[in-house]
Symmetry: D2
Subunit: 325 residues, 4 copies
């Protein structure tokens, strides 16, 4: 389903090259100040234009259709839409016949009997993360005292920051290849007890939302995969105050599925962009043979560069939902 | 919520030391042969008794209360319950005052104003995975042509198999400490196209279910975290046949959130058991000071040993739900 | 689905002549005093034994399996089960071949390929209203300041009370026939604003729950069907105070789907019991012909007599859910 | 919530005098031919303009934003929006102070702390039934072999048809008063077995959807309220064929909550329009006294005239959801 959440409910729609994309957000408390300008900052963090991102530039202007009156949310569902302007659909016509490795082309065609919109990946495009960011802006407003920060900590296997990544990006651009990355997100201010046993644990809900971002390969909380090799005496977090504050945070802020009052910390692994100029092989359904495929179009060399704000938005959506419950 | 799934819906209830625990499973197709004996094999895989597991032995006998008639499922909800027999609740009385590091004691107390049942972790106990296994047995029957296999691939940071792990386990037992582990799960036979955009991707649903297992710290699909350091030309899976078969499986069987017909492969990191004999420090709510805590009771040294069948059950529940949609 | 509610979530299971029936209730706030004795009064109001009700007497003893600790709800799901003792399943064997008019026999057989449990109506039996009543008892406790009263206002087309109905009941017993009835329910203390636009209006949720009671044919709020023949100036309720109190209550306490602070009033029409001794005709799937059918067994002549407490329970479940949202 | 359905999921948004209203419909099977012209007929049946309806005329032109490609549904969510053009918001400014009897003004103000959009009833306006009709058009296409017909059978207490109603309408117009009406809906072609025990019976789901239409006071199936006064031998429907066909249809096509293969028949009571020119009294929150109120604006004298297509849409949405399950 394209809907997530019980109390703060986000429904997405749209295709990359269709008329528009958007979200309907239900369950927003009444009285929160909100205007279309409030989306600007987070939307610009997701925008392309920097080194390693696609030259397709959309204006990404939100239009709020409902749910705001007199500059404040009304309590009724808020619909926000974005028009698609800068599309070049001719680029995509061949991918029903020659599905792109790493893309949904093949699986979506099977699922929907080839009635799916193939242009720009259609409904499976990363463009759908734009209304996610919009919903995240609203969720962050709901979460007044919660502070969410996601940042890129690794690109192409290199940690350390932009200067170190530049070289790897330049090389990938020259090679017509692509890179992945790792995003770390830290959330402060979530009250202890947030989360629901058994199935709607904080980690369950965050991972559910995060894995819906196209291109995610893994998620880990606190000590993460490293914890599997630790001893209990190393991994356990000693509690040091009546607010539950811990000396260390190996659990990443969650015990038994519930927030324990410490920062919630998780890392997300993004794969390298699937669309590359470099020649690959794929199955051609018209010839019935393996054929070479070089993907022209306009693509991010490393889409992970644009994802920290998307990860933040997903975390905000989850926490708004859990905290409003 | 303690309910998971839309079409194959599992609701859990129970506490570790209460009268009993169980599950109600709704949405089981009518006419599937099922008896209480069918649960035996998977339940025994979850049982304690082996080196590194708790000496608390429960008989874990399922009683089916409804939903089966004449040896076949009826289409109506199936309730299965397990009585708790072997409980020693006196062990747990102090943990409201001195919450155990790594446990839900503190967060659950905050959430439920200390009305939560603290005995054996109450509703947050790993014992809740018993009805999960039972639901998994039924889900596997629903998934006739799907084959799910989970196995432990690492214990205490050591890969390679039981003989190598024995030493690490012996050492941890001697130290009064505990170990974690990594489980790998592989699923064959899931039809291409299974899964739902945008939010109910295969990875989203599996990770949601898996992170509800107590003690999970991370999950990754296919190349997983390693993918973040790969190039697109390395990570992409070349399609080689009209059934979508790929030369390699870096995506772990999922593209754009949909199964692509290749095996679905994921790995789960389990933390070391939180309850250890070794002395730890924690906050004492009665004295208002840090105090030492040694947890007696009966605990697994490495509960990850018992989890492969639980991971299988969760995968089965998710896929039964997605495929019945 | 056998589950109702978002925040106060009731899942039912069981068959009339199976091992047992029950409910799992999730979302109960922690700290509410509750024991098995608390169910006694409402369960006894649903019991048979009075004139016009079935001679099948079950002890209807609840067993709480989980969710209560130290005499108070814990916040975790509460499971309550009832064993079936007094069953005579031989009575029901023929109804797969000769479906009883007015019963689910035929439709359930089609739905579940005849794997449904036919004994006593199986999962479609009115016996399922027993765990509904139990869930209602808990819901009423959640709704501290809300007062719910349902009573029978008409039996067999006769209004006015037990004495007047006795004659009609006696006649129906003599004839081997059955009677219907009308229940009126009034609810005081629901805060103005309760309910959710657009789909989860107070009337939508109450009617949803009430129509799941077997044998309901209609429901109306306030002036009900009569309102369709009134003028706006007659039907509108003039507001007379700042708490929204109205001079009259033609709307039955709901405007725009939201409670308006006045008593919520609705009436429910119950059909006459479908199982009658009197000879009827039905299709015989073995002979392929219309055949006569006289239903022996033990049945209520007027099951509506037992339903006021069930209607109350449904109203309580709905309001607990809406008010906890 | 503003979302209905599990498999065929409709989410509504919008306010009467805001920028626009619309629906997102998720779960539409791929490959159904659909264009904006397909909405014309049903939308025109809901339009105003006839005697007894409001002079506010909107062009009600649908714009499909997503979910259709090459003239066919894609399987992805379909968003359809309608702009509001013909609004006169000044008419509504006083109703926060002087809530209109029979309207949601007071209850919505309480619910949303007066942040609700009051113009034209805001989100509580009957205008929201426009996207419902649009969703119904799509649902009808999903239900290929199902035939749904709703028609007005009574206006202002008068049955019999347009000619007889004209006089009552003329009189109400002259008086500045309003009338109600009764709509009957008949549905053929629903397969026996459709519906879900226990809570999602056919009647439960239809009544849930129907009571979300503004202004409904009651619903009854088959013999309806009349059944409460019948004997079992009169009300029961004798089965006469192996397809479950009955001699009569007192149950309205539903037994045990499941469709039994006979036409599903129900009647819906609509109240008279709440907004009337005739002077009423209401509480004035500024003066703290009862004050007179005459509602100018542009309103239907009998909005029930416009509802048959809305009732059909709701029935179609419910059945599409139940049948796709």
């Amino acid at each position: 389903m394209d809907t997530f959440g019980q109390k703060f409910k986000v429904s997405l729609f749209g295709e990359s090259h269709g008329r528009g994309i958007g979200a309907v957000i239900d369950g927003i408390p009444a009285g929160i100040p909100l205007s279309e300008q409030d989306f600007t900052e987070d939307i610009s963090r997701r925008k392309s234009g920097a080194k390693g991102t696609t030259p397709r530039i959309e204006d990404d202007k939100p239009e709020i259709l409902s749910g705001v009156f007199g500059g404040k949310t009304t309590g009724a569902p808020l619909a926000v839409i974005f028009r698609n302007n800068n599309t070049r659909s001719s680029d995509y016509e061949i991918f029903k016949e020659k599905p792109r490795p790493g893309h949904a082309d093949f699986a979506a065609g099977v699922k929907w009997n080839n009635f799916n919109d193939p242009r720009g990946g259609g409904h499976f495009s990363g463009r759908l993360t734009l209304p996610v960011v919009a919903a995240g802006v609203i969720a962050k407003k709901v979460l007044e005292d919660v502070c969410i920060n996601a940042r890129l900590v690794e690109v192409g296997g290199v940690s350390g920051g932009e200067e170190k990544w530049r070289e790897a990006l330049d090389q990938a651009i020259r090679d017509g290849d692509s890179l992945g990355g790792i995003v770390e997100c830290s959330i402060e201010g979530v009250p202890a007890g947030t989360g629901e046993p058994f199935f709607d644990s904080v980690e369950s809900m965050i991972s559910h939302a995060v894995f819906s971002i196209p291109g995610v390969r893994g998620i880990e909380f606190g000590d993460g995969f490293h914890a599997a090799g630790m001893k209990g005496s190393e991994h356990n977090d000693p509690i040091v105050s009546e607010t539950g504050h811990c000396l260390k945070n190996g659990a990443g802020g969650v015990n038994g599925g519930l927030a324990n009052g410490n920062p919630i910390v998780f890392r997300v692994a993004f794969k390298p962009t699937s669309s590359i100029r470099k020649t690959q092989t794929t199955y051609d359904f018209t010839t019935g043979k393996m054929e070479e495929l070089a993907i022209p179009g306009r693509h991010d060399v490393c889409f992970a560069l644009r994802t920290p704000v998307v990860v933040e938005a997903m975390a905000a959506i989850v926490l708004a939902d859990l905290m409003l419950r």
